[in-house]
């Protein structure tokens, strides 16, 4: 069982595993793997805590109800699965600043967190605008050959590559 405690697997093995997992989610749950809608639902649930029932009257939350559903449990599962994998291999660690970031922008925690929040806002906003994320469009949608997903996934990478190059080569 050494393979369970290895830190990294070949990206091809991991990719094939995710592909086979997608067969099972289609077959058993009749759903493609996706993650970003769960964040929209959670955002609605949190807003409900502060503003009460009237949040449900928002057009968006009529279409995407703020409830725990299959995909929400999937995202919760991802946290648990990654934790199990990291603990088994000893790769788990509390870390504020990733090393690639630190090498260019320094080891201070505050700037990294502020930039992460800013990036997160863009990501959450863009994922809902595009109707999916790197898993929902990038993997599940493209493997179904959905036109929307191929266009979205290519746009993710065009936007991402340009931004990353600017961030690390112009600002950094």
């Amino acid at each position: 069982m050494n393979w369970l405690t290895e830190t990294h697997w070949s990206p091809y093995i991991v990719g094939i595993g995710i592909g086979i997992l997608s067969w099972l989610t289609f077959l058993i749950s009749k759903k493609p793997i996706g993650c970003s809608t769960a964040f929209a639902r959670t955002s609605g649930m949190i807003e409900k805590l502060f503003r009460g029932k009237k949040v449900e009257q928002k057009l968006y939350y009529k279409e995407v109800e703020p409830v725990v559903d299959w995909e929400w449990m999937l995202v919760l599962g991802v946290v648990i699965g990654a934790l199990i994998s990291a603990l088994l291999s000893g790769d788990f660690r509390w870390q504020w600043v990733p090393s690639r970031w630190a090498a260019t922008f320094g080891t201070a925690v505050f700037p990294r967190v502020i930039v992460a929040i800013t990036g997160g806002i863009c990501l959450g906003f863009g994922a809902r605008w595009a109707g999916g994320c790197t898993s929902g469009h990038g993997i599940s949608g493209t493997l179904q050959l959905a036109v929307s997903s191929w266009v979205a996934a290519i746009s993710f990478f065009i936007g991402g590559i340009i931004t990353a190059l600017l961030l690390y080569n112009v600002i950094g």
């Binding site: 091809y12 289609f26 493609p32 992460a116 800013t118 109707g131 179904q144 746009s155």
Partner: protein, 190 residues
């Protein structure tokens, strides 16, 4: 969720789809962590075109998934669930997402894995941002819905439907193309 099964053991039947979601999520998270894509360094490295792990994982998942799903579709075992899209939705939304992808260095799936990995910039920064961004979109959605999101609509359509050909006419060449791309990336030493 199925609504045909209501009456007697309603609770039990309603619970199991959620449990399956959790089980599939655990496997997905385990794989993402083993693939190294729960790390900022790997995702930023991909977008800087220095580390091609993300693309290798994604393309091999797409290749494997596509062949299996379409095989099962041909047998009548599964139905497809393509998402709607338009120029306004997919390109503009995709580019905004891309900017966030690079600035944050995680995506909505891998950030859940990053939290499991102990990465606090993901938990304290990224997740807060994603929830704010999703909430912001929900607030302005009524203004966008019948405007920019409708621009250049292409609907819930797949590539074979678009080209009006048999599914496998697209799948076979695409598999060769994607496998060739992976081979080329590997050969080039990435």
């Amino acid at each position: 969720m199925d609504n045909k099964q209501m009456e007697p053991d309603k609770k039990k039947k309603k619970l199991s789809p959620l449990l399956w979601g959790l089980v599939f999520g655990i496997v997905f998270g385990f794989l993402l962590q083993k693939g190294g894509v729960t790390r900022y360094d790997v995702i930023a490295g991909q977008l800087l075109l220095q580390d091609f792990t993300v693309l290798k994982v994604m393309l091999s998942a797409v290749l494997t998934g596509m062949i299996g799903i379409y095989f099962m579709k041909t047998l009548g075992w599964v139905e497809l669930h393509p998402k709607p899209g338009s120029v306004g939705i997919s390109i503009i939304g995709g580019l905004i997402f891309g900017v966030g992808f690079a600035v944050l260095g995680y995506c909505p799936g891998t950030i859940a894995g990053a939290i499991g990995n102990g990465y606090l910039d993901a938990l304290v920064g990224g997740v807060v941002g994603i929830l704010l961004g999703a909430g912001l979109f929900a607030s302005i959605y009524p203004k966008l819905k019948d405007g920019i999101l409708k621009k250049g609509d292409f609907g819930k359509i797949t590539l074979p439907q678009l080209f009006k050909v048999n599914d496998w006419v697209v799948i076979v060449p695409l598999c060769i193309l994607l496998a060739g791309l992976l081979y080329w990336i590997e050969k080039a030493g990435f």
